[in-house]
């Protein structure tokens, strides 16, 4: 049992990172820290995909210049492609999130969730 677990340590890493990220998102009160947690969460996912795509003994899925066709073993390129897409999405999400945090900072004067909630209940925020 322990052997199987150690052989598949990539999954362990992925799960731990995912949980750390999710925990940060839920428990941290600071808006920027939440975003950091989100990024860690998404990164765990990327690692998962890539580790799944690894073929034992395979090299990076970039065509080796000049090699004879069929002689080189490549890792699965598709997960890499998928993850590139997901990374882009993640970047956009983080960028948008940070932009929002800036605006929240301007509007509320704080980026701590507790302070913001207190301000909301006090005045309703209506202009």
């Amino acid at each position: 049992m322990l052997e199987t677990l150690l052989l598949q340590w990539n999954y362990l890493v992925f799960i731990m990172l995912m949980m750390i990220g999710l925990f940060m998102v839920i428990s941290r009160r600071n808006l920027v820290k939440k975003l950091i947690g989100l990024t860690i969460f998404q990164t765990a996912l990327f690692l998962f995909y890539i580790s799944v795509g690894k073929v034992a003994g395979g090299t990076a899925p970039i065509i080796v210049h000049g090699a004879v066709e069929g002689s080189v073993l490549y890792s699965n390129p598709l997960p890499h492609v998928l993850i590139l897409t997901a990374i882009v999405v993640g970047v956009a999400t983080t960028a948008l999130g940070l932009a929002l945090v800036l605006r929240i900072r301007d509007a509320f004067g704080s980026i701590e969730e507790d302070d913001i909630l207190a301000m909301n209940t006090k005045d309703g925020g209506e202009k």
Binding site: L22, L35, L38, F41, V52, T85, V89, G125
Partner: protein
């Protein structure tokens, strides 16, 4: 050539126009609106044509000419055809109606960017519905999420809580989407394919069940977040409540519907080979959760004073009805769910439009107290709100009645007597919050000192939607036959 590429055009036109719209300078902001109008209108016509073309069968469109299952495929079958028509149609109507409200709530300089995000959302949602590739779905999911967040945050001009609501939606939505793509990852790892039909074929053959089940669970959980299914729906009331009114009208009508369609597609097409597991999922997760959504939404709506948030809570309940139909797992149930997808888009779209019209006239957020007596000075808008409201509670001869009857019949066909009784009970309860609104509008003295004019740009599309509510309540054949086709399509596989 045009007709052949319809499936792609439906999605691509709004996306491309969005890019161009973002470049429009602010002094030409009317142009931005026109471009949005043009692209949503074209999308709607394309969706309609596509639906007729696919009548009775299904069309498989390979993007870029790459054949599935290696390439990304857009499938037009009964289900996606109906939902694209609903989404694009409501998007078009909302665009027509949005102009005075957007100008009222958003500064001139930002208008082109808002319409760019608007079109991005619409295009992405349409792509969500058309696609038959699991990962492509994630991409469209995220595009629609990010652009929706942008639009919601624009409500900060009126109320800074919009920023917090947008942030929360961003974070929760991202977590949900990541869950979804994680599920996709598991399934990909076990089957080697991302194409939905191919997955359906290969999944039953996988020997190691655990990763498949985990994958399923993650995917479904992720979609639950996006579709605002209880209890991961918490982002919805604030997001819809504080977004600019036109944005809420658009999102309420179409965004969650597209996600629920995805849920249906996953449960019944992709996972159809795993019948018993899906059955467990439906009985033990979807059905209870739907019931909770129905009652939580209805009861919270009764206590809510702010009108937009009230309607948002009501939407949670209505989404519960739809997922309840899906959760029955029978063709009849799924059909009932689809009927309500179409009808509710009309009902809630109409109600949000009407409330937007009231708020526009009032100059501030509408709530139960400040709409008192508005029925006398704004009869056109108020009567539209009344008719759509009556449709919401299911008065016979309105679209809402058709939904309710079909849903109850489907529940009874599955012999869940208790659930049927609960649905009827919740229907009676919803009369309570509707009546609060009705009494405020019609039974109180007219407000003095307010100069109120009704804006035709607002009430004309509103009344088109309202009349559709009545028409579809009297001649529901279009919706019911399309919904039946949709259910059949979902149950028997995703084309290709």
């Amino acid at each position: 050539m045009f007709v052949d590429n319809l499936p792609a055009l439906i999605v691509v036109i709004p996306l491309l126009m969005a890019a161009v719209t973002a470049l429009v300078p602010s002094r030409l902001s009317n142009l931005a609106w026109l471009m949005a109008l043009l692209s949503t209108g074209t999308s709607f016509s394309a969706a309609w044509l596509n639906k007729s073309a696919a009548e009775g069968g299904s069309i498989s469109y390979a993007l870029g000419g790459w054949p599935p299952p290696w390439g990304i495929e857009f499938v037009t079958d009964g289900a996606s055809a109906l939902v694209t028509v609903v989404v694009s149609g409501l998007a078009f109507a909302s665009t027509i109606y949005s102009k005075p409200l957007i100008y009222n709530e958003i500064s001139r300089g930002d208008v082109p960017r808002v319409y760019a995000a608007w079109q991005l959302t619409v295009g992405a949602l349409l792509g969500l519905v058309m696609t038959a590739d699991a990962f492509n779905l994630f991409v469209f999911l995220e595009i629609s999420a990010l652009s929706s967040v942008t639009m919601i945050a624009m409500g900060a001009g009126r109320n800074r809580q919009a920023l917090v609501a947008a942030y929360n939606y961003l974070v929760i939505g991202a977590v949900g989407a990541t869950f979804y793509v994680m599920g996709v990852g598991f399934l990909y790892a076990m089957t080697g394919t991302l194409n939905m039909a191919d997955l359906a074929e290969r999944l039953p053959g996988v020997t190691a069940k655990a990763p498949v089940l985990v994958g399923m669970a993650f995917m479904v959980a992720g979609i639950f977040v996006k579709a605002a299914v209880f209890p991961v729906h918490m982002w919805l009331p604030a997001a819809y409540g504080y977004a600019p009114t036109a944005v809420t009208a658009l999102l309420a009508a179409v965004a969650t519907k597209a996600s629920i369609y995805v849920l249906g597609r996953l449960l019944f097409t992709v996972f159809e080979g795993l019948g018993d597991v899906t059955g467990l999922l439906l009985n033990w997760v979807v059905l209870p959760v739907s019931l909770m959504a129905i009652f939580a939404g209805t009861i919270l709506a009764i206590w809510e004073k702010d009108l937009k948030k009230l309607l948002a809570q009501s939407s949670i309940a209505q989404i519960g009805y739809i997922t309840l139909g899906l959760g029955l797992g029978t063709t009849q149930g799924i059909s009932a769910g689809f009927i309500h997808i179409a009808n509710h888009a009309l009902i809630k779209g109409g109600m949000f439009m009407a409330v937007g019209g009231l708020a526009l006239a009032l100059g501030k957020r509408a709530n139960i107290s400040n709409i008192e007596g508005l029925g006398r000075v704004m009869p056109i808008t108020a009567s539209a709100l009344t008719v759509c409201g009556l449709s919401l509670i299911g008065l016979p001869l309105t679209a809402g009645f058709i939904s309710k009857v079909y849903l109850v019949l489907a529940i009874i066909a599955s012999e869940y007597w208790m659930i049927a009784a609960l649905v009827l009970l919740s229907s009676a309860l919803s009369v309570i919050y509707l009546w609060k609104i009705m009494e405020a509008i019609w039974m109180k003295p007219a407000p003095h000192g307010l100069k109120i004019t009704e804006n035709p740009a607002v009430y004309l599309p509103l009344w088109v939607i309202t009349l559709l509510n009545i028409w579809l309540g009297i001649d529901a054949s279009f919706v019911t036959t399309s919904a039946d086709a949709a259910a059949l399509a979902l149950m028997t596989g995703a084309g290709s």
